[in-house]
Structures are given as C-alpha cells and as structure tokens.
C-alpha cells in the first residue's frame, strides 16, 4: 500500500514520513504569512494536526503538498484573525536593508504598521504577491480562490495600503 493510502488508513509511521517530508515547507508557508518563527513552529504542528484529523477526506491519488498548503494557509490566516498582531521582524528573519537615518527607520516602521493593519485576507495576498513574489496562480491555488479573485484582493489591498501610508505621511 502506498504512503498516502497508509496515511488515510491512520498509519502513524506513514504520517511521520509525510510530516518529515513536508515540515520545512509547511513552516516556510506559514512563516511567510505570520512572520514570527516561534508562532510558525506551533502553527506548523497545528496544520499537521488538522491534516491528521481530516485524513479521511484526503484523496490518496491527489497532491498531498497542495492539500497541505491549503491547510497551512488557513491555519496562518486563523492565527492572524485571532492575534491581530503587528508584523514583527525578529532578528533571525532576513533583515531588510539597514536604515541609515531616523527618518528611514520611522518610514520602515510605518510601512510595517500599515501592512499589519490590513485585514488578514488582504494582508496574505500582499505578503505572498508583493513581498514573496509568488505568481497569482500559485496564490490562488493556495487560498482556494480564482486568480481573478486574487487580483481583486490585491487591488483592494494596495488601495488600502496606499491610503494608510498617505495618512502616515508616506507617498508610495
């Protein structure tokens, strides 16, 4: 019996194999949205837990990675909705270009604040599309919506972001 079928049947060894195969990817997918490494680790476990609970609904002939990514994105979105957190940039994340003045530091912090204030469903599109450079098609698959819906969300997100930045005295 192949791995996916064994997993659906509740085989813990098969689940462990899938976990080890995908844990880095799931962690990265989540971190790109929540931008908080300790939270991303906990949410990775949460994503696999949801996957394990929902294993009866998984089609063993389907793509495990795509299914898992959808779960991971939903877990990250749920986290943003409940945490309503700012976008932190912990020291172990890749650093943005070093600011060379207090003005630039202020600008950077205003941009992060504006991004963190976006509604989660718009913020995720901006982070994946504009920060991580993911194609709209991939974002659409990950969110379970059409590429056109991604475009609409991006349009709204950029408009809202521009408004918030203008309020903060920054001209995009």
């Amino acid at each position: 019996m192949d791995l996916a079928k064994r997993f659906v049947a509740g085989d813990l060894d098969a689940f462990e194999t899938l976990f080890r195969e995908y844990q880095r990817s799931v962690y990265r997918w989540i971190l790109r949205i929540v931008r908080d490494p300790p939270a991303a680790e906990d949410l990775t476990v949460e994503a696999f837990w949801r996957m394990y609970r929902a294993r009866a609904r998984f089609d063993p002939s389907g793509k495990c990675g795509a299914w898992l990514r959808r779960i991971a994105i939903n877990v990250a979105l749920d986290h943003l909705r409940h945490a309503k957190q700012q976008v932190p940039l912990p020291e172990d994340l890749p650093a943005a270009p070093a600011p060379d003045s207090a003005v630039q530091r202020e600008t950077r912090s205003a941009i992060q604040r504006a991004l963190s204030e976006l509604p989660p469903r718009l913020r995720v599109v901006v982070q994946l599309g504009l920060v991580e450079d993911e194609p709209y098609g991939e974002i659409a698959t990950a969110l379970g919506i059409s590429a056109n819906a991604v475009k609409v969300r991006m349009f709204r997100a950029v408009r809202l972001l521009r408004k918030k930045l203008l309020e903060a005295g920054i001209t995009p």
Binding site: L12, I111, L130
Partner: protein, 77 residues
C-alpha cells in the same frame, strides 16, 4: 496563459514594501517538530462523532417513549 500580475502590478508598492519587509527564502524550524506533534496526538481527546451521539439520543428517546422495546433492544446487544 498570461500571468494576470502583469496587468497592473503595483511595482511602486512592491519596492516600498521590500524596504521594510524582506522575503523569506530558506527559513527552517529551529528544532525537530515531530516530538511536539506526537505530544499533540497523545493529548488529543478521542472524539465521538456527532451521529453516534444522535443514535444514542434516539435510542434513549425510544426507550423512554416505548418501554416495551427495551427487551428487544437488550436482546440485540
């Protein structure tokens, strides 16, 4: 298929965002998460599906409304 991002990609906003938020390329968890996963699996209460509760409720209601079905029920257990 044309990539729809080329239709109106907000390049200026992208540049601005990248001055404040860096992309994450090769991040990895700082520890093996499998032990935490196992703890989560062990801690999870065994869940009884809703239809099992519905069946139980139906049985209790049937016994309450029609006590004569009790011997037949016990016979089939």
């Amino acid at each position: 298929m044309n990539d729809p991002r080329h239709d109106h990609e907000p390049e200026a906003m992208k540049k601005l965002l990248k001055t404040a938020v860096s992309p994450i390329k090769d991040a990895e968890p700082r520890r093996d998460l499998w032990p935490q996963m196992l703890r989560r699996l062990e801690a999870a209460p065994s869940r009884v599906p809703w239809w099992d509760w519905a069946l139980l409720a139906g049985t209790v209601a049937a016994v309450f409304l029609f006590p004569s079905v009790l011997p037949a029920l016990l016979f089939h257990l």
